[in-house]
């Protein structure tokens, strides 16, 4: 994959120079299967385990409150657990789950850490909600309410830079836990992005793709340096179709989709499993475990910057400006840039598989 090296260096130079020398060693959080057990793991930048927390079932992603040294692990959908734990202590406390709801696997804290928001399936009614939990000291993770998110099959949720709006990826796929993740509405899918005001749960704006792309499930999100929402999609239509899989949305405008070069789009195999911005928010990385490929995008122009082949690679997080850490289903963790060969910082293992997401804890 060719890359415009000058353009890339320019991007790196333009990224705000963080106080790299003084910054604490970055840490990352991921779910994994080790032998037949599921756990959440904090690793360092070399992919080495620092702490593990046992999970009751297969995990997915996390809400992270770095300022208060804690995180919540969510069960993979249909997820019937969420577990809060201390990043330093590992002390864990399960969240309650109301009747008729299960977790979709993603969540985020409010800016002040007082509340936790989690995407959930109201599966008898057949629509998605954001569950709101008391995350204050002594709040015991009580579920204090829920917001409707104007869609079905919500997946990732992020807090916008204004600190009071949630952006929810409504994947559009109806599921019921009796049938696992089986799609129940492929013919009528209607994915969207929904912006929800956390003060009153009002849906401020929804953004949908054109009708011809109604089977393009919007699932994973990341914010770029300018506060725009980047999203990665999974296509539920025929494999021979080649819809664009990556897009960007700014409030008040229509979503823009970026297909990239034909070979990159073909290589992603109609599937993006995770989206992350680099440390400067200038490069967006999208992983496809199905295609064994990570693709990078310039957040300013939407141009594809390059790709890295990583078999079953899915978890992805910023390692620095223009640099990422990628975890894979074969147990390895690699450092990648928008070009060049990935550098494995942790080798593969036959007993270990990293799950979909890798999150930087601060």
């Amino acid at each position: 994959m060719a890359i415009d090296r000058r353009g890339f260096l320019g991007l790196v130079a333009a990224a705000p120079m963080l106080a790299l020398a003084a910054a604490p060693e970055p840490r990352f959080l991921a779910a994994r299967r080790r032998n037949d057990r599921y756990e959440a793991v904090i690793v360092d930048a070399h992919g080495q385990d620092l702490r593990t927390v046992a999970l009751p079932d297969r995990g997915h992603s996390f809400a992270i409150d770095a300022a208060r040294g804690r995180a919540v692990a969510f069960g993979r959908q249909p997820g019937f657990f969420a577990l809060a734990f201390g990043l330093e202590t590992g002390a864990a406390e399960p969240l309650p789950l109301p009747e008729g709801r299960h977790f979709f696997g993603h969540g985020t804290f409010s800016a002040d850490g007082a509340l936790l928001y989690a995407t959930e399936n109201a599966y008898e009614e057949g629509h998605a909600v954001v569950g709101v939990y008391d995350a204050s000291r002594g709040g015991r993770w009580r579920r204090i309410g829920e917001f409707d998110c104007a869609g079905i099959g919500a997946h990732e949720v992020v807090l916008m830079p204004d600190r009071r709006t949630l952006c929810v990826a409504n994947g559009g796929i109806l599921t019921h836990p009796d049938y696992g993740k089986r799609e129940l509405n492929l013919d009528t899918m209607a994915p969207s992005l929904a912006y929800v005001d956390v003060r009153d749960g009002r849906v401020l704006e929804t953004a949908a793709l054109e009708p011809a792309l109604h089977q393009l499930s919007i699932r994973h999100l990341a914010l770029d340096a300018g506060g725009a929402v980047w999203f990665g999609c999974q296509y539920s239509g025929p494999a021979q179709d080649r819809p664009p899989l990556v897009g960007c949305h700014r409030r008040g405008s229509a979503p823009r989709l970026y297909a990239g070069p034909d070979d990159v789009l073909a290589g992603l195999r109609n599937y993006v499993g995770s989206v992350a911005a680099d440390a400067g928010g200038r490069v967006i990385a999208t992983s496809s475990p199905v295609g064994g490929l990570v693709a990078y995008w310039d957040s300013a122009s939407g141009r594809c910057l390059g790709t890295t082949p990583i078999a079953d690679g899915c978890g992805i997080a910023a390692a620095g400006p223009g640099r990422f850490l990628v975890s894979d289903g074969h147990g390895a963790i690699s450092e990648t840039m928008t070009a060049g060969v990935p550098r494995q910082v942790r080798g593969a293992s036959s007993t270990l598989a990293w799950d979909n997401h890798l999150r930087r804890t601060g």
């Binding site: 299967r33 009796d178 021979q240 475990p289 799950d355």
Partner: protein, 362 residues
Amino acid sequence: MKSAWSFLLVVLAVLPAGTVRAASPPADLGQRWIDGYVRPQAAALVQAAGAVDTALSAYCAAPGDAAAYEAVRTRVGALAQAWGRIEFLRFGPLVEANRFERFAFFPDPRGLVQKQVGALLAAADTAVLEEGALAARSVAVQGLPALDHALFATDAADVIGRDDAAGRYRCAYARAVARTLGRTAGEIAHGWSTEGTFAREFARPAAGNRLYRTPAEVAAEGVKALSGGIQFVRDIKLAPALGTGPDSARGQRLPLWRSGATARLLSGTVTGMRDFLDAGRLGETLAADARWVPAAFHDEATRIAQGLDAVPLPLDRALTEPEARAAIELAMLQLKNLQDINDAFLAPALGVNIGFNAFDGD
């Protein structure tokens, strides 16, 4: 039967996954599958749908005739079996234009078929009776489950037998469904014909193809279809209805329980998967230590189908009768075994490696 099954479990227990050596799949594997299995089955599906319409035409002319009604039931059972034999090929022509959902919308935890077919019958909307009109309506009102409901719901025979406006409309609607099924089957057959791009690529994988570039990709599609097909029978069709015991069984969760065609549908899928695999004639090309695998799949599938066919009651009633229920519980175990043969032995024997994240994305 039981001793042979126990023997197979022993074989699996002493051969951990990955002990078979990988061999390249035959270059013409896709052609073998198409010629030896898919095309004849697609043609049989078209024919079976036509036979339902023919039987319905006789029954609708003599609405109270019990023998004509039973002849319809027999034809619907045969159509269910023909569909079972093709539904596991859930890629290409079956997923294009929502054909899978149009032919057999299932699972349906929210009871859409009952609601929508009920509403249509109540409204007696003659517009849907016009040639081709039903295909453009909801998937819930144009497939096998709609036929099952319209013809075999508790009051259906009485309504039709009264030979009044409601009865005549119901008969005409059932015929429209049968003809729509015939059309959808025709589309599937066309998609797999020599004229279709999809079938051409599947039969002759090549570097310039959009979808299948190597025989390994064709093999992977087949192995995934078998794995998904087994899972659909076991986890989606049987498990939710089975419950934990006779008291918690929910026979109305089974597909096509009203017509009593459930067993034929399920055994159709199991024998279909067996015959599909056989049509690949893989034995000769696999490594010596893996040649037992297709034979083991064949034998286990035969046992499962024979067991299901031998259940003396319609499956929805069998779930609450201890002896008949035991046969279904045995089938559940055997299906798990069949899945192990496929995923842990057949896949690696063909060099198919489906990653942890890629296999079951989110």
